[in-house]
Amino acid sequence: MKTLLLAAAAATLATSAMAQDVVRMGTEGAYPPYNFINDDGEIDGFEREVGDELCTRAELTCEWVSNDWDSIIPNLTSGNYDTIIAGMSITAERDEVIDFTDPYFPPAASAYASTMDMDPMSADAVVAAQTNTIQAAHVAESGATLLEFATPDEAVAAVRNGEADAIFADKDFLVPIVDEDSDMSFVGEDVALGDGIGIGLRESDDELEATFNEAIASMKEDGTLNTMITEWFGEDAITFE
């Protein structure tokens, strides 16, 4: 109870400063189409567009920063930016340390892609995934051999060069890759992981969380969010009802 009160006190103090302050949006910049660095060297992608729209609606000044995936949460909790908007699925583990807004992207399917016809769940399958993702944790539990890479790019490269039998990643990340590579196709069943993608925030930033939730709700209501999802992820993408 005491910690709750203190957290609330901190939150009120923080809000007084928030009004004129800039909200710093942390992202990875290496996970197209969610977020990536475009050819002009700027942060671009679905999340950039959603984030900017959210900031406009909430009347916040937002500044985008990119940060390595591995240290993206420690840098949020130590205050180097105020939000994580980096395709981060809401999971119980993460929720213990940071807070999430309501999802701005529905629980997305994760999928296996491979250059051959294989069963990604079998014990002798070698499946590549990005280190420290829910997909990596899933592969470790599935019984297949997990092969971990620092970036999703390297995991895809490993499948192409035969180092791994399959890659397990967000389906939306894999769709353009599979579409453009005739050798690669989806194998096995899609798996639904996580509770959707939300904006990560410090637990003490209740005010900011409420502001973003409101903005997300309004974007869901007037259909802008669904429009953006189909724009970036194609007509078949899962949208909010």
Binding site: V126, E148, G162
Partner: protein, 278 residues
């Protein structure tokens, strides 16, 4: 009390023995200490084998660099330059990429449709070891070469006077003196090599079945607990202990190399002057 339970479960996890799944929730200090310690097995493995094998190649490289024939000297020079002049991080990356391509490009056709089985080179235990072996050979080769040039003229003249020639002269006079002179710098090289083993799973080589080195597990815990201030200092402590062990082993060997000298002439401790610290 002494993390007995964790020791049983994760003590050899880095080799694939014990619990298949890593701890995911309620991570205790014991979990971290044991699992990171288990990862140290790989750091020691890479360090010891690369150092042992590198010692011989380094001697050859030093002799090659000192050779009069350009056909021997140039390749040795280039080898040393290539591995000393570029960051290990980039060497690991390029080596992994090269090893991955190897079987496709030469194996297929030559050894049938499957190609020669060079797949093991893309695995860290072999591929990274090769890189570390070449790397430490180049550094130690340069150190040995420097020492070779400093072998006192008097020693060589004495060898000549005793009628020693060729390999006997090298083995009994030149080589021991070279080692004696190079030893402090070589000790430093060994320390650096052990430190360099932390890069294996960091650039290029992927971890299989979550079997990695100490740093791999530390970053796993840093990610799971979202707190970098516990696992990384644990790695640091392990490495301080490892460094102390390396120093004591090397100084024991150094004392053996110097045992014929009167005690006043024995270097009391490794001197920092002019020594190559990588």
């Amino acid at each position: 009390m002494m993390c007995a339970e964790e020791l049983g479960a994760y003590g050899l996890r880095s080799l694939g023995i014990g619990e298949r799944l890593l701890p995911r929730s309620d991570i205790t200090l014991c979990d971290q200490v044991v699992l990171i310690g288990s990862g140290m097995i790989w750091n020691v493995y890479f360090g010891v084998l690369a150092l042992a094998a590198g010692f011989f190649l380094a001697t050859l490289l030093a002799l090659g660099k000192a050779a009069t024939s350009a056909w021997i000297r140039k390749p040795a020079d280039w080898f040393v330059f290539l591995f000393r002049g570029s960051p290990l991080f980039i060497q690991f990356f390029l080596a992994y990429e090269a090893f991955v391509r190897l079987p496709d490009s030469i194996g297929v056709g030559l050894f049938g449709a499957e190609g020669a089985d060079l797949g093991w080179l893309t695995r860290a235990y072999a591929g990274a070891l090769v890189v570390l072996f070449f790397n430490t050979s180049a550094y130690a080769g340069e150190i040995f070469y420097g020492a070779l040039r400093s072998v006192p003229k008097g020693d060589l003249e004495a060898a000549d006077a005793y009628g020693l020639t060729g390999f006997t002269r090298f083995r009994r006079i030149v080589w021991p003196t070279m080692l004696r002179l190079a030893w402090p710098a070589y000790t430093n090289e060994a320390i650096f090599l052990f430190h360099a083993t932390t890069l294996v799973f960091f650039s290029g080589f992927p971890a299989w079945r979550q079997q990695g080195d100490a740093l791999y597990y530390a970053s796993y815990f840093a990610d799971k607990t979202f707190n970098p201030f516990i696992p990384y200092p644990i790695v640091a402590l392990y490495f301080i202990v490892l460094t102390l062990i390396v120093i004591s082993l090397f100084s024991a060997a150094g004392r053996r190399l110097n045992r014929h000298l009167p005690s006043s002439e024995r270097p009391r401790r490794p001197r920092a002057i002019g020594q190559l610290i990588r």
